[in-house]
């Protein structure tokens, strides 16, 4: 804590509480930081392609060490448990963001569609799970009042309680469908316009969740849905704090951690195979030049919708698990900020790169989720770092490994190893 305090004091400066004095001090700091950046980085590159030439290295380091990373992923929570459950709960939240980042990367990174409303998919998934695994739908039919609720006997819960094996894919599918629905009107839009429209859809989704308690109570409005069932396999309930493995107690967060880890592995597997298929190539072509992609025979409409649907699917699954682990979902948890946080993870990691999205989510997630008592200060630092990052390293930590992969393929090609280098014809 003392380090954090010192950092806070440093940002505050030595000149007392006058905002202008603080501003002047921070401007001075920023100026110094800017100068250092300029010195380290040299001149601003004059070519748009400069970042791409730097591409490849970091992502391949991650790829080469993926089994080591998997081992860390498997054993990290057990180590964290030695300090109690808090770190694990943070790690679990970050895991959900990893899933979201990999999903958003399909839309933003692969296909180049800037989506600022990704939280909508997360919300749709969460609400699908929430509605079908809680007493909420029963209460709709009951036309309840607060008096009745507070007096209802809580025992075996009424309402739908569908298994997670059905609900998690269903939530993904619903979010995918939602992706197609919001994709259709935005097909013709590009770049910034698309960004602002998707942002609008994200906000509209939240406002609807907040208001669909009237005239019929579907979402329970601002109160959200409570008493959501935990994930249950057979008789094993993920939410039961009394689960034991031998003498060791298994906290709920641990169950969910491994469930999400499994989903991340599955998602990364699916997404990286898609990336290397004709679908992935078509997405990249749309990102690079939509008109040329059309003329090259790509049905850009369908492939963009496919990108929205795929991104939506993984976002929706993440939402469903979030709802199951959280026991309660409320519209306030689906603010625009979530979309922006996920986008920052994708961009920071390196757009279009799966290892980038994963690492970006982990780094940005830990930066963001630790020290909640510094709400504004961490957003302040977060905003500042974001600007700095994009200026110093617009391609992200681990930019797309596409080029590297093509080079790897070159090695597999015997005719090329044999070919003598010479001038191009």
């Amino acid at each position: 804590m003392s380090f954090v305090d010192a950092f806070v004091a440093f940002l505050h400066g030595p000149f007392g509480n006058n905002p202008f004095a603080i501003l002047a001090w921070q401007a001075l700091l920023a100026g110094a930081a800017y100068l250092i950046v300029r010195l380290v980085r040299g001149r601003v590159p004059r070519q748009a392609t400069a970042p791409v030439r730097l591409a490849g290295k970091g992502a391949s380091v991650v790829l080469r060490n993926r089994y080591a990373l998997l081992l860390i992923g498997l054993f990290l929570p057990l180590i964290e448990l030695l300090t109690g459950g808090y770190l694990l709960s943070v790690t679990y939240s970050i895991e959900l963001y990893v899933l979201l980042a990999v999903g958003l990367n399909i839309v933003v990174g692969f296909t180049g569609l800037l989506d600022l409303g990704y939280v909508a998919f997360f919300a749709v998934g969460a609400y699908v799970y929430g509605l079908f695994a809680s007493p909420q739908l029963y209460e709709i039919t009951k036309q309840t009042t607060y008096f009745l609720v507070s007096q209802s006997v809580v025992g075996p819960q009424p309402g739908f309680h569908i298994s997670m094996l059905v609900l998690i894919p269903l939530a993904g599918a619903a979010a995918a469908l939602f992706g197609v629905l919001i994709g259709i009107p935005t097909l013709r839009l590009r770049g910034d316009y698309l960004a602002i429209v998707t942002l609008g859809f994200g906000e509209i989704t939240r406002i609807f969740a907040n208001n669909l308690d009237q005239p019929i109570n579907i979402t329970n409005g601002p109160n959200g849905i409570i008493n959501i069932d935990p994930v249950t396999i057979g008789s094993y309930s993920f939410g039961n704090p009394a689960n034991h493995l031998g003498p060791f107690q298994i906290p709920p967060f641990l169950n969910y951690y491994y469930l999400v880890l499994l989903l991340i592995l599955l998602t990364v597997f699916i997404v990286s195979r898609l990336e290397r298929s004709r679908v992935g190539r078509a997405w990249a072509a749309i990102r690079e030049d939509e008109t040329a992609a059309q003329v090259a025979g790509i049905n850009t409409r369908n492939l963009k919708l496919l990108a929205y649907a795929s991104g939506g699917f993984f976002g929706g699954m993440a939402g469903a698990i979030y709802a199951a682990g959280q026991h309660l979902i409320a519209p306030d948890s689906f603010q625009l900020f979530v979309s922006i946080l996920v986008l920052v993870m994708v961009v920071a990691g390196g757009m279009g790169s799966i290892p980038g999205a994963v690492v970006g989510a982990i780094v940005v997630g830990f930066l963001y989720f630790l020290s909640p008592s510094l709400l504004y200060l961490r957003i302040l630092v977060f905003g500042g770092l974001l600007v700095l990052l994009i200026i110093v390293r617009p391609q992200g930590f681990l930019p797309s490994a596409q080029r590297e992969r093509e080079l790897e393929e070159k090695e597999e090609d015997p005719s090329l190893v044999a070919a003598t280098p010479g001038p191009a014809p």
């Binding site: 300090t83 109690g84 459950g85 808090y86 694990l88 709960s89 943070v90 939240s93 009042t145 607060y146 008096f147 609720v149 507070s150 209802s152 809580v154 025992g155 406002i207 907040n210 208001n211 409005g221 601002p222 109160n223 959200g224 409570i226 008493n227 939410g239 704090p241 709920p252 967060f253 979030y322 959280q326 026991h327 309660l328 979902i329 409320a330 306030d332 948890s333 989720f369 909640p372 008592s373 510094l374 709400l375 504004y376």
Partner: protein, 363 residues
């Protein structure tokens, strides 16, 4: 300090928004709880079966957010707290209650009024404040019977708290003999409320009830007066504070707001409490500090009667009967609600809220 270094120190958790839009509620309650802990330690702690226990408050921030709330609750579990005071806002409190229930930790909220908090069947969830149903009833009776306003317009900010209270008022108005002529909503991020106010103006209400926080209630009142709406405003505890009178300025005059607990001058020992509070934190009590103070004492009292384990504290807190606190006398029912809740209606006079009516429900 009067205790030996070898005395066991028990941690009591505090969870609530300590940084952010509504941080003043959280910080105020935290300070109230801290004051209780400090006083108890200064008096030598509590004794149970020959052991002297002293206490330490362990505050964490939940940003009034469900996700963050679950994480922070887990942090308190890790820290080994025997019981928790908080959360402050209902949605986060409900999310946290799951974690505390999983771990058998007593949770006493000083301010979460949503009925669902104690309706989940969690044995660990308690609150030391009347819920929205009781407060809505109070406001409805006051507006219709005391003020004699038959035609009521209801407006809320679509937040958990604001809509919850407005719904309760909505349900209670017909019973009190009133009629609802308009029901409108604001967006909690909006600045311009004139559209809703103009609609309300066209329905000619005798009184406007607003469910929400002072951040909107202040400008809302001003905008209503500028539109020529002269009828009184009745509001809930989210508006009974100095922010409201500051934001609405002279337009605040004559507005009513209800709040849980008796008026501060009617609480025995409040003057002393506020003096100590101000000496320590150099601000006046804002809202829920007295309730948090009582919650902390209920917990420490439970340690005294039953011992220092989580289960013992839980059992003793649940059995709390006629505990005389700063605010009122507390008895918990089987759900964790208090059996008797007291509300006071205040009116703005010369820039300050003055108590005009006290209501006791239940008991």
């Amino acid at each position: 300090m009067a205790f030996k270094p070898s005395d066991p120190v028990l941690k009591i958790g505090f969870i609530g928004m300590l940084a952010g839009k509504y941080q003043n509620y959280g910080i105020d309650a935290k300070n109230g709880a801290q004051l209780a802990v400090d006083q108890m330690n200064a008096a030598g702690g509590v004794q149970n079966q020959g052991t002297t226990y002293t206490f330490q408050l362990d505050p964490v921030d939940d940003n009034a957010d469900a996700t963050q709330g679950a994480q922070s609750a887990q942090k308190l579990v890790d820290d080994g707290v025997v019981a928790v005071i908080g959360g402050i806002f209902s949605t986060a409190t409900i999310a946290e209650s799951k974690i505390f229930n999983d771990n058998g930790i007593t949770q006493i909220s000083p301010s979460a009024t949503n009925p669902k908090y104690t309706a989940q069947g969690f044995k660990t969830a308690f609150r030391v404040i009347g819920n929205d149903v009781a407060q809505g009833h109070t406001d409805a009776e006051f507006a219709v019977k005391t003020l004699g306003c038959k035609n009521v317009a209801i407006l809320d900010d679509k937040s958990t708290y604001g809509q919850g209270l407005a719904d309760s008022v909505n349900d209670a108005i017909p019973g009190a003999g009133g009629k609802i002529v308009a029901r409108e909503h604001l967006d909690a991020t909006a600045s311009d409320f004139t559209a809703q106010l103009t609609t309300i103006k066209g329905k000619h209400p005798d009184v406007i009830f607003y469910g929400g926080y002072s951040a909107q209630a202040g400008p809302l009142t001003s905008q209503a007066r500028k539109l020529g709406i002269k009828v009184p405003f009745v509001m809930g505890d989210g508006c009974e504070d100095s922010d409201y009178t500051k934001l609405a300025g002279t337009d605040a005059e004559g507005a009513f707001a209800s709040n849980g607990g008796p008026a501060q001058n009617l609480m025995t020992g409040f003057a002393e409490f506020n003096t100590k509070f101000k000496a320590k934190y150099s601000v006046d009590v804002f809202q829920y500090a007295p309730q948090a103070f009582d919650a902390a004492n209920i917990i420490m009292n439970a340690v005294k009667t039953a011992g220092a384990t989580k289960a013992a504290v839980l059992g003793a807190v649940a059995a709390t009967k006629d505990y005389k606190g700063l605010v009122q006398s507390y008895t918990f029912d089987s759900k964790g609600d208090i059996t008797t809740s007291i509300f006071t209606v205040y009116k703005v006079e010369s820039g300050n809220f003055k108590a005009v009516k006290a209501v006791t429900i239940g008991g």
